[in-house]
């Protein structure tokens, strides 16, 4: 993956497939330039046996082939910076994925287009789940909640191109002052 936003997109797709109704995506950077990524869902969750398997590139729930690279790739990129990943999961309750990365490391990927990640998740899954983006840095914080957009649209689908364009701009506008010059 070329940037962190693509990892987030890839991992959030796991939450979609776990039939979540709300997926929380968190990106925060603290004063020491430690990045914390969180993808937390209320989907079907995993038991201990599956949880152990998804950490390996040779673990997947798919039946079409034997590899699943999403989590191992993210783990590799986190560890290259001196960070790590953790997954907490409970069957029936959901899964919380966290990754920490040191932004100061030369191996740390750039954040990339986080707005593009959220909008492609929403447009590809207009019926849900909903997504809650929460970002913070020493410069400020923002949240973007697709439940609010869904309510404002009153029945109009979230994958209408004009809605997607609006969301893209709305999120980008709020992210710039928070991450601009920090990790963007």
């Amino acid at each position: 993956m070329r940037d962190l936003s693509l990892h987030i997109l890839d991992l959030a797709e796991n939450s979609v497939r776990a039939r979540a109704s709300l997926v929380r995506i968190g990106v925060s950077v603290d004063e020491s330039k430690l990045i914390a990524l969180t993808i937390a869902d209320d989907g079907c969750g995993m038991d201990a046996e599956l949880l152990a398997r998804v950490m390996s590139p040779f673990g997947t729930t798919r039946t079409t082939r034997k590899v699943g690279m999403g989590i191992p790739l993210m783990a590799q990129n986190a560890r290259l910076t001196g960070g790590d990943i953790a997954i907490e999961s409970q069957v029936g309750t959901g899964t919380t994925f966290t990754a920490t990365l040191h932004a100061d490391s030369i191996d740390c990927l750039p954040l990339g287009d986080l707005a593009g990640t959220v909008v492609s998740l929403v447009t590809a899954n207009p019926e849900g789940p909903d997504f809650l983006l929460q970002c913070s840095s020493p410069k400020g914080e923002m949240t973007f909640d697709t439940r609010e957009v869904r309510q404002a649209l009153g029945g109009v689908s979230l994958n209408e191109p004009e809605v997607a364009a609006w969301m893209l701009e709305a999120i980008r506008e709020e992210l710039e002052p928070i991450f601009g010059g920090v990790i963007l």
Partner: protein, 125 residues
């Protein structure tokens, strides 16, 4: 600052367009982008965004963009399927945002697939 009031205006405009769409449901065109790990790593997200952007610019009301998982030909990603009503599915491979303009103009608007971008052309090489 983007406001919720703008969403209301979008809602009104979209509702009018949707009414047009409903009149002839079997005219709808579907664009499906492969969005598994392989697709994302190969650049599927900018391709999908380019389709949304192009469809928005041309206000094509009968086109929907959606996604699918990995279909097992990871080396050909990013892949995009285009379904025109009554026609066979066309699969584009190694897609880029730059190729999207031609696919929309020639295939989606005018009904002529861009043969050189299709899986058939890639397999012949």
């Amino acid at each position: 600052m983007k406001s919720m009031a703008e969403l209301e205006a979008i809602r009104q405009r979209t509702l009018q367009r949707i009414n047009l769409r409903k009149e002839d449901d079997n005219e709808n065109i579907r664009v499906v982008v492969g969005m598994a790990t392989c697709g994302i790593a190969a650049g599927a997200r900018p391709v999908m965004m380019a389709f949304m952007d192009e469809i928005n610019k041309r206000t094509l009301s009968k086109v929907t963009v959606s996604q699918t998982g990995c279909i097992g030909m990871c080396r050909l990603e990013p892949m995009v399927d285009v379904y025109l009503p009554g026609k066979e599915k066309v699969t584009y491979v190694h897609m880029t945002p730059e190729k999207v303009g031609r696919v929309v103009a020639e295939h989606i608007v005018n009904g002529r697939p861009v043969t050189e971008y299709t899986i058939g052309a890639a397999e012949d090489k």
